[in-house]
């Protein structure tokens, strides 16, 4: 399997974010919440505060490390929820067809027609702010593409010899779906989930920026941006570094997803002479 430069760049960035999140507790020089010291506020980057400090004198580097935990949790959990919903609906719709297919298709179209951030806002408004409701909101909004991919993969796999052979061998519908169809469409689903992680991180940042996500004083890249907004002329580093963190992690997920797609999908594989 050929994996290009993009894949490795994406993988490196993703691994970096994952390490930052997992090891935050050990490598962060300060506490993200408690080490607020107004005497140290708005200090530019130096040897002690690598990324400078924010308006309350908290270390931006520390808060970015802890923010990675939030972004990763949101990215992974929301994509797991998305994939489960999308695959379940798409696979059953493609396999059984009929009225169920029409219903799922209709639902997917409706979901695609609603801007997902607005929908997430509505869900958050009902559930209230906080991490769990953030996960639910993002998990419920972005499954439509996964659902479509799952449905179309199922439709094409259904006519494969081994699926029909499984029917003649007495496999039940569910057994066929789980042993024959699902494993064979994991590739595109995985790609969708990886690409979706990028947009989930963005959506989390947006919701936190709007004050609906992670509540202060706990750090999230989006809420760090909100806090830094008022100080952007005094302490641009407080906004720059969370912004860079969002940018690089989303770029990482997207490159990783693209790279996976290029290597998993034979039609997309670029032929080099």
């Amino acid at each position: 399997m050929r994996l290009g430069f993009n894949f490795w760049l994406g993988a490196t960035l993703t691994v970096l974010v994952i390490f930052a999140g997992i090891l935050a507790h050990w490598i962060a020089p300060f506490d993200p919440v408690l080490d607020a010291d107004l005497m140290n506020s708005e200090l530019p980057p130096d040897a002690t505060f690598w990324f400078g400090t924010d308006g309350q004198g908290r270390d931006v580097f520390t808060r970015i490390l802890y923010g990675a935990q939030i972004s990763l949790t949101v990215g992974i959990v929301s994509q797991v929820i998305n994939s489960i919903i999308g695959v379940t609906l798409g696979m059953t719709a493609g396999y059984w067809g009929g009225w169920w297919d029409d219903l799922v298709n209709g639902l997917t179209n409706v979901m695609l027609a609603i801007p997902s951030l607005i929908f997430a806002l509505a869900v958050m408004a009902v559930l209230g702010p906080g991490l769990p409701s953030l996960l639910i909101a993002l998990g419920l909004t972005n499954w439509s593409w996964t659902c479509r991919i799952a449905r179309s993969s199922t439709l094409s796999l259904k006519s494969q010899g081994y699926v029909q052979a499984a029917q003649t061998l007495g496999y039940g519908d569910l057994r066929i779906m789980f042993t024959q169809i699902l494993p064979n469409m994991m590739g595109p689903i995985l790609v969708m989930a990886t690409l979706g992680m990028g947009s989930a991180v963005l959506a989390e940042a947006a919701l936190s920026f709007l004050g609906l996500g992670i509540q202060p004083p706990f750090p999230s890249w989006g809420s760090m941006l909100t806090d830094a907004r008022q100080l952007i002329q005094l302490a641009p580093w407080a906004a720059l570094f969370p912004g860079l963190a969002i940018f690089l992690s989303v770029l990482g997920f997207n490159l990783l997803g693209d790279g996976l797609r290029d290597s998993l999908d034979p039609h997309m594989r670029t032929r080099k002479p």
Partner: protein, 303 residues
Amino acid sequence: MTTPLLDIRDLRLSVPLGRFALHPLLKGVSFQIMPGEAYGLVGESGSGKSVTSLAVMGLLKKPLAVSGGQILFKGQNLLALPKREMRRLRGNRIAMIFQEPMTALNPLSTVGRQIAEMFVLHQGKSWGEAEKLAVEALDNVRVPNPDRRVRNYPHQMSGGLRQRVMIAMALACSPDLLIADEPTTALDVTVQAEVLRLIKELCAARGTAVLFISHDLGVIASICQRVGVMYSGCLVEENETRALFASPRHEYTRGLLGALPRLGSRSEHGRQRLVDIDSIIADRSKLTESRFITPRELDGSQP
């Protein structure tokens, strides 16, 4: 006389054509298969062979639907059987192997696991036990080094080996009836002979009846006791294999046999053309009850 294992009575099947018209695909097909018997079904593409076998398996896809008749399996009408019961029969009492061994196995699991799944599914065995049985089953279909081969993925096997794996899966539960839908068409001739012998021997050993579908008369002759000839949704002739080849009664059968090259015929009679059945498929709606092939002309002078 014993009761037949499979008794197809006046099976009719049609596909809707436009809004109101029904286009018949099978026009009252009836035949019986005795327990342990090998029955051949021959006919050209589109004559209804495969559709008959799918109807027996209960796997007709919409818009195909049985519009009349009965399929009795051990006296049970399969067409009236609930889905769940039918599924229990499939793979267990009635099994099927296909033409395309290259695509008939799941590329993502080992052949051992796929065979073992049959035992787990139909006989309620544990996976550990089933995996041992899978090795045995591979050994039965004469795959060399079965204990190593069970860990192979389908892409590591040749077409002949894959077809053997399919046979192992189909015969895993010693079914009463094996439907073989052109099982050797995609294989080359030497492998074809081996696979045919394998099917013949294994089925004889288990007392499994075979419904063998093919357009290859040579293959049919080597494996079947009785043959039915299908043409345009009708069973036009049915006889013991030997008798059918010796004295075909129906004009179409004669045409089929005439289209077969015979070894040595050239030296005996000089160079002759094979009989050619006009290859353009006629408008099937015109070929109906009469059971003759009038819209299509037999060409050539052979019988």
